[in-house]
Amino acid sequence: MNNRHKNECKNKLGQMEVFGLAFIVILISIGFFIFVSYKSQQKTENPQKEYTNDKVANDFILSILYVSVQDCEEYTVQDLIIDCARDHRINCAGDNSCVAVNKSINVMLNKTFMPKDVNTKFRFWSENLYYPENTNTDLINVTHLNCSANSRQGQRGVAVISLYPTAKDVYLNMNICYQ
């Protein structure tokens, strides 16, 4: 009678172990499914977005430098930047070179990155191009849709404009932020 009772107890213990093991296996399988489904939902950035964020900023900055300025077509944007930083001689339809260059860059930024169907997050700023003179205020500092230095952004576009013979350079910078 005693032996029979012992055997029954052993059997019950064995059954419980088997069910415990099965329970653990089921839990691990469910965990695995959840993990894989989560991973498969995390889509990688599409190539189009990556291209825009990494290449367009640099292409834009390099292109605008050689563009003829509206109402002042004998000069390029680069000529006006150099004049604004150094000489202050050029006048475009009543505006000095600093105001004219600021206007023209803003028009190009507006037309390229701000239309409703494009609406790109970006920031564009100049360094060593102070206006009004003798202040520490940089002439251009445009931010669209809260793109800041802390936002996730693509490669920076930079143009260096030499002010030779002065030992100074003007920098134009642009970053496109991820949406």
């Binding site: 059997n11 499914f33 990688t44 599409n46 190539p47 189009q48 290449k55 292109s63 190009m108």
Partner: protein, 175 residues
């Protein structure tokens, strides 16, 4: 004798339950795997279509039939406006489709537009703001992917350099 039969029945029930659970898990696994792999194939397809559009967009400013004449290495992407006009006339010539067919091998199912944005071009026959130089005219129900590249557009006759964009739309069917 009765006890042994009972125990045997219980064990058989357990084995059956385990087999059923394993089969259910396998079925769920197969269904799940199928869904994941289908979405992966779709992603890869979309990515390769977008890469093809990027490739076309990068090819255009390097074409000698559109590129500006500059000596030395030129870092800025630049198109000659009169070459753009000539290419437009040649590709979209309704009497001779040979040029369209030639470029079709490079530009595939896409639409390519050159836009002059700044300064405003004046009035005149050659002063359009945008020109669609190539359009594969696939039906519009297909999905499009758009890439725009900032470029300089030179008008050597007027001695002006415009800021503009090359817009490349790639058409592809969603699968």
């Amino acid at each position: 004798m009765k006890n042994k039969r009972n125990r045997g029945q219980i064990q058989l029930g357990e084995t059956t339950a385990v087999v059923i659970i394993v089969i259910i898990l396998l079925v769920i696994g197969i269904v799940f795997w199928n869904k994941v792999s289908v979405s992966n194939v779709k992603d890869i397809n979309t990515q390769s279509n977008e890469l093809a559009v990027i490739e076309i967009a990068n090819m255009i400013p390097e074409l000698p039939e559109l590129k500006c004449y500059e000596s030395g290495v030129n870092k800025v992407k630049c198109l000659d406006w009169y070459k753009v006009l000539a290419m437009n006339a040649s590709i979209n010539n309704p009497d001779d489709t040979s040029t369209f067919e030639f470029y079709n091998t490079y530009f595939k199912n896409s639409r390519i537009t050159v836009v002059r944005m700044y300064p405003e071009p004046g009035a005149g026959p050659n002063n359009a703001t945008n020109i669609t130089i190539y359009d594969a005219k696939i039906n519009r129900s297909t999905i499009t992917s758009l890439i725009s590249i900032p470029v300089n557009i030179k008008d050597y006759a007027a001695k002006k350099t415009y800021y503009g964009q090359i817009l490349v739309e790639g058409y592809y069917n969603e699968q």
